[in-house]
């Protein structure tokens, strides 16, 4: 699911590179992961635990918990609240993570 015309309003800041589903994303210093993905035309960040439907960004300020992704192996990270840093490994989150031993 990509937006055909993502447009970044502010092109300043040093480039920061990280991975999303194996694809290289070039962000700007100070971006959140969600912002960097949006600017790259990526909208599908996880699948709903309840319906399995795709979910993306909504509030962009930490409130809605829609933009959950897996970052460096840690699930349920809020993409909008996580600043980009060089070499992050970001994955789509599919379903709910398991705590402890799998039930």
């Amino acid at each position: 699911m990509t937006d055909p015309s993502p447009r970044r309003l502010d092109e300043s800041g040093a480039p920061v590179r990280f991975e999303f589903e194996g694809r290289e994303i070039v962000a700007r210093e100070g971006d959140s992961v969600a912002l960097a993905l949006a600017a790259s035309g990526i909208r599908h960040l996880r699948d709903s635990v309840v319906s399995g439907d795709p979910r993306g960004m909504y509030c962009m300020m930490g409130t809605c918990f829609d933009c959950l992704v897996e970052i460096d192996g840690q699930p349920n990270r809020q993409a909008c609240m996580t600043p980009v840093s060089e070499g992050l490994n970001v994955r789509i989150q599919r379903g709910a993570p398991v705590v402890g031993e799998s039930a």
Binding site: L68, N76, A96, P97, V98, V99, G100, A103
Partner: protein
């Protein structure tokens, strides 16, 4: 005979009664205070819970059990009429015990309840650690046992409330917000309720305003002794299902969030979260289920329980103001089905049945 009934309070108690009244063919207007209200219905844990309720008042144990028995039909009715699934499930419930003393005290309680209500009427049993491990494999080393009741369950309280409001609208009830009752006065054969949205007239009035009942009671000859008690709740990020039934400290919702609760504070009508209680709730939940330590908490809140001074519900028609009924209870979720399907028909018929006499506030007067 159809009457116009004004229900003061649009939370779980008022809405359940209003839903039931509409089912009896009554004309109903709900007057709700608005979002400045304490809103116990929007801050609670969501248990539909039977075990431990009614120690010292067997009629309350029976009333609670009756509601639990009615709950699945009630949830189906709400889903049919409103399209909102409440998330109600009845897998039984577990009270976890963290010391031998607590286990013995709980065994004594269950024995007392069985003696009074009969095993079929109560039905909670003590499981030792070994038996408990088979049901809840994730428990921590400090858990010595549990009390299991097959009559316990849980629901999503917000969806339950939304289902009620949807069904009320569909049944032709009116809901008016920003209309907190300021006074109730006689108006011919009926009553007039003054609110910031104007004066509403009804043949009958149901007081279901939570703590507001305490302030409104004197207008209609009712002295309702209520006290506030704060409870705090933490909610974790969603996780794969690991908890097959609710416990009194931790429950996992059908969408995967884990709620931690069971705090009790006497801090008046304040509903703010506090670090010390959040710490204790977390520590207690982790003692029960150690792997919860890896979960992040995403929300916390406090809410104020509506408790009578002895903890049991108060149902009463005013003697000086016939047709005015007051409904007061802590367990608005558990009792929602009984309020809709048993209590409301009594109010529609014009009198509480004698079996509810034990719940009158007269029990507090020592003449």
């Amino acid at each position: 005979m159809s009457a116009h009934v004004i229900v003061i309070g649009g939370g779980l108690v008022g809405s359940a009664v209003a839903f039931g009244l509409l089912g009896e063919g009554q004309d109903v207007t709900i007057l709700d205070e608005g979002d400045i209200a304490l809103r116990a219905s929007r801050g609670n844990f969501g248990l539909v819970w039977v075990q431990s309720k009614g120690d010292g008042m067997p009629e309350y144990a029976q009333w609670t059990r009756r509601s639990a028995d009615l709950w699945s039909g009630f949830a189906e009715e709400l889903a049919d009429e409103s399209g909102v699934e409440t998330g109600y499930a009845k897998p039984g419930g577990m009270h976890l015990l963290l010391s031998e003393e607590a286990l013995e005290a709980r065994r004594d309680l269950n024995n007392r309840m069985h003696n009074v209500n009969g095993a079929a009427g109560y039905g909670a049993e003590i499981l030792d650690r070994k038996a408990l491990l088979e049901v809840l494999p994730g428990i921590g080393p400090d858990v010595v046992g549990g009390s299991y009741s097959p009559h316990d369950g849980h629901t999503n309280p917000l969806r339950t409330l939304r289902g009620l409001h949807g069904a009320i609208a569909r049944r032709g009830g009116r809901y008016i917000s920003g209309a907190g009752a300021q006074s109730i006065t006689r108006d011919g054969e009926g009553y007039a309720v003054e609110t910031p949205k104007g004066t509403f007239r009804g043949d009958r009035v149901v007081l279901a305003a939570g703590h507001g009942n305490k302030w409104l009671g004197p207008d209609v000859g009712l002295d309702i002794p209520l006290r506030p008690q704060k409870g705090q709740i933490l909610v974790s990020e969603r996780t794969a299902p690991f908890l097959p039934m609710p416990t009194h400290v931790v429950r996992q919702t059908d969408e995967g969030s884990v709620m931690f609760g069971d705090s009790h504070e006497d801090t008046g009508y304040g509903d703010t979260s506090s670090t010390d209680v959040i710490r204790d709730l977390s520590a207690n939940a982790i003692r029960c289920f150690p792997h919860l330590a890896s979960l992040r908490i995403v929300r916390s809140w406090g809410a104020v329980r509506v408790l009578s001074t002895d903890g049991f519900p108060i149902y009463q028609e005013s003697e000086s103001h016939p047709g005015v009924f007051s409904v007061n209870c802590h367990s608005g979720v558990t009792l929602a089905a009984a309020h809709a399907l048993e209590l409301a028909p009594m109010i529609a018929a014009g009198a509480l049945s004698p079996e509810l006499g034990v719940f009158s506030a007269k029990r507090f007067s020592h003449d």
